[in-house]
């Protein structure tokens, strides 16, 4: 198990998952998965469709019970009181069509242990912030899909949860509302809320998440800080943009055309590091460099590479790199 659990107590983690397994008949949905989510971080759960992400989330929320393994949430086993501290926005989500917006929110807030008065005040406040204050008496069926999505998000954070678990939070939202939700999540993080986010939108993960867990076929294939994961997949190469004959640079064994037609990807020869190449370029007058960066792959590329290839080997490689660091 490549976790830090041995060095820190369970109470330090918002979620502590140890060797959980879940079968549905002959199908192994989750296979001995370990991970922890630190308090106050944005943690991303990644994986292709059917990888087992939703099953893991449902086990965390005690909707499903694991066949084996242990789960601790907010410092202990999940109780009704703990559930009241969690906000959950599932991927398969909806609301009662013929119920008015405010009534719906009051009901869901009450189910989280809030008093009618408190939930009403909080709901009206959030509805105003989300631009829905004119729709408090509208029925859910009268709202657009995007507006319904916003009401669902409000319902998730209504009770000021300590742990937020959201599945595809940006699906169906336009850029303005995506930004609204994104700002809200940053704000909640700043207030100390732990956020677990499952999404297919890799750029959101790159931008927002502190750490990630990638699942494929029920098994953990990548786990760790987002930056480290990307670094681990970085090739011995640099991306440059500017003028000069890149093929004659000492230490460059191959030059590949970049994605935008202006940049070039310089594959380095063994024994040469990006620092060596940068020093060479800086000392030569016949090269003008406007941009120089490590050739770190995007999470999207890593995702395709890992899911398309051998997941176990991918994690072994990542762990080797971390160990070498």
């Amino acid at each position: 198990m490549t976790t830090n659990s041995s060095n820190s107590s369970i109470a330090d983690h918002a979620i502590f998952v140890q060797a959980i397994t879940k079968r549905f008949g002959d199908f192994m949905a989750v296979d001995h998965v370990n991970f922890e989510v630190n308090r106050g971080e944005i943690f991303s759960l990644l994986g292709p469709n059917g990888a087992g992400k939703t099953t893991i989330i449902r086990m965390i929320l005690d909707i499903l019970r694991p066949d084996d393994g242990q789960i601790q949430v907010l410092g202990g086993a999940l109780t009704d009181a703990t559930k009241d501290r969690i906000g959950y926005l599932p991927e398969e989500r909806g609301l009662y069509k013929n119920v008015k917006v405010l009534e719906m929110l009051i009901y869901l807030g009450q189910l989280k242990g809030m008093s009618t008065h408190d939930v009403r005040v909080r709901a009206l406040d959030l509805l105003e912030r989300f631009g829905l204050s004119d729709n408090t008496k509208s029925k859910i069926s009268q709202l657009s899909k995007g507006m319904q999505q916003k009401v669902q998000t409000i319902a998730t954070i209504l009770h000021k949860p300590d742990l937020l678990i959201i599945d595809e939070p940006f699906s169906g939202l336009d850029p303005v509302n995506t930004q609204l939700i994104q700002d809200l999540l940053y704000e909640m993080k700043a207030e100390g809320v732990t956020i677990v986010m499952s999404t297919h939108q890799m750029h959101q993960v790159e931008e927002m998440a502190d750490r990630l867990l990638m699942i494929n076929k029920g098994q953990r294939v990548l786990y760790g800080p987002v930056k480290e994961v990307r670094q681990a997949y970085a090739q011995n190469a640099v991306i440059v943009e500017g003028e000069g004959n890149w093929t004659t640079v000492p230490g460059v064994k191959e030059v590949l055309a970049g994605r935008n037609g202006q940049e070039a990807k310089l594959m380095l020869a063994p024994g040469f590091t990006p620092d060596d190449v940068m020093q060479i370029l800086a000392s030569r007058k016949d090269y003008a460099v406007r941009r120089f960066e490590l050739a770190v792959p995007s999470l999207n590329e890593i995702f395709i590479q890992v899911v398309g290839g051998n997941g176990s080997r991918a994690e072994a490689r990542f762990n080797d790199v971390r160990a070498a660091d």
Partner: protein, 446 residues
């Protein structure tokens, strides 16, 4: 188990906010009462005579009646031969004190003057009928005293014909009683117009007496209908409510806050209340109108069901609803749409109402084999035992066996519904659970 109360309150509010429910539960009774009230107002304005007088002389129309007295004794002289019919003699003031002889005074034969006309023979009578002087012609046959035979000649039969026949019968009665004293006349006139009100008392093997079968039938029928309607409506609402959690995709949000069983308990109790309110409103309105119209007052006026039986019936009512509600909820949890779920409901409702197919047997032989077995088998017990309890005394051991069996099955039904409503609701969001996969689904850990 927390939060069931919030679910209960919300589900009741949600159901009461539905137009279809409000229309059926409150709109329909109000409409029926308005129509009934309007009909009664119309009826009373059409006839300005007092109800009391109408009860003494049966008529609501102004048809002219002819008759021929063919008896050898000439038992029925013409009304006018009794003297002039003055308003003082024949009018009935409902506000005046009702003294002995009042009935004789207002119903004496001369008071029929102007409505009933005597004819000497059939030829003359028929001529009067043909020229529309009279609307109908009665012939009191020669053998009347021995047989009571009266012939009626008329051009067409309608409701008024029947009404006028009643008036002629009143005339015959008052003519035959005219020599009786005032108080005797009053008693005999009223009694002979309704000579018997039969109450049957069945002597069973134990020597105990049982109630009138007509009353038993009504009581058993009303009891069975009450539970049957509650089951259909309450169970239907519950099933719909469970399916809707999946159709609306809110189920996972709810399950992250509320355990499946708490959700289910809240829903079962709410739908029970909702359907009891609905059944009470509809049945109450029907009973009220029926009683006002006089159609069921006689049947139920002297029905006596002891407190013990009422408590037992209430217990079966609750147990029956929990059993069938639990099963309906399980069906809802297995299916993805209300339409799919409807296909399975017959498997529950058919056994539930099957005792009603044997209603006559339950009324006539409540302790025979079929009623006894049905009242102890959990699926048929609620309606079967309620009917038996309502109309007879059921041995205590049979009640205990029946309740025990039902409690066991209720626990099983609620466990099944809870199991399916939790995990399976999520796993079958898009595809209904097939019956062959049910055992595997129940074995899964949740």
């Amino acid at each position: 188990m927390t939060h069931w109360y919030q679910v209960f309150v919300f589900e009741i509010k949600r159901q009461f906010g539905r137009k279809a429910y409000l229309l059926l539960t409150f709109g329909l009774p109000v409409l029926a009462l308005v129509i009934f009230g309007a009909y009664r107002t119309y009826e009373s304005s059409r006839d300005d005579r007092s109800e009391e007088k109408q009860e003494l002389i049966t008529t609501t129309n102004d048809q002219q009646i002819g008759y021929i007295d063919a008896t050898a004794q000439q038992l029925f002289p013409a009304p006018e031969t009794y003297g002039p019919a003055t308003a003082r003699d024949c009018n009935f003031d409902p506000d005046a004190p009702f003294t002995p002889g009042t009935i004789k005074r207002v119903t004496q034969p001369k008071c029929f003057t102007g409505r009933i006309h005597a004819y000497s023979d059939l030829t003359v009578g028929k001529a009067a009928l043909e020229d529309k002087t009279i609307d109908m012609l009665f012939v009191v046959e020669p053998n009347y005293l021995a047989t009571g035979e009266v012939s009626l000649y008329t051009e067409e039969f309608n409701l008024a014909t029947s009404d006028s026949s009643g008036l002629f019968t009143d005339f015959l009665l008052s003519s035959m009683l005219q020599n009786a004293s005032g108080p005797t006349y009053d008693l005999l006139y009223l009694r002979l117009r309704q000579p018997s009100a039969v109450t049957e008392h069945r002597v069973v093997e134990t020597g105990a007496e049982e109630q009138n079968e007509d009353q038993n039938f009504v009581v058993a029928y009303v009891t069975a209908i009450l539970l049957g309607m509650t089951l259909f409506w309450g169970g239907g609402y519950l099933m719909q409510s469970v399916v809707q959690e999946k159709e609306s995709r809110i189920i996972e949000i709810l399950l992250s806050s509320v355990p499946a069983r708490a959700l289910l308990v809240g829903k079962i109790l709410a739908m029970g209340v909702v359907s009891v309110v609905q059944v009470t409103m509809l049945m109450g309105t029907a009973m009220f109108i029926g009683r006002q119209a006089g159609s069921i007052a006689d049947s139920l006026s002297d029905v006596e069901i002891g407190l013990g039986k009422i408590i037992l019936i209430a217990i079966y009512f609750v147990l029956g609803y929990l059993l069938f509600g639990g099963l309906m909820a399980a069906i809802g949890a297995m299916n993805t749409t209300s339409r799919e779920a409807q296909n399975y409901t017959a498997a529950i409702t058919l056994p539930a109402i099957s005792p009603m197919f044997f209603l006559t047997l339950f009324v006539e032989e409540p302790h025979s084999t079929i009623p006894t077995v049905m009242s102890m088998f959990p699926m048929t017990a609620p309606i079967a035992m309620m009917m038996r309890i309502a109309i007879s005394d059921v041995p205590a051991w049979q009640v205990l066996v029946s309740i025990g069996g039902m409690v066991v099955m209720i626990v099983g039904a609620l466990w099944l519904a809870g199991k399916l409503f939790g995990v399976q609701s999520l796993l079958t969001l898009d595809n209904a659970l097939k019956l062959k996969d049910l055992p595997k689904a129940l074995r899964s850990k949740s």
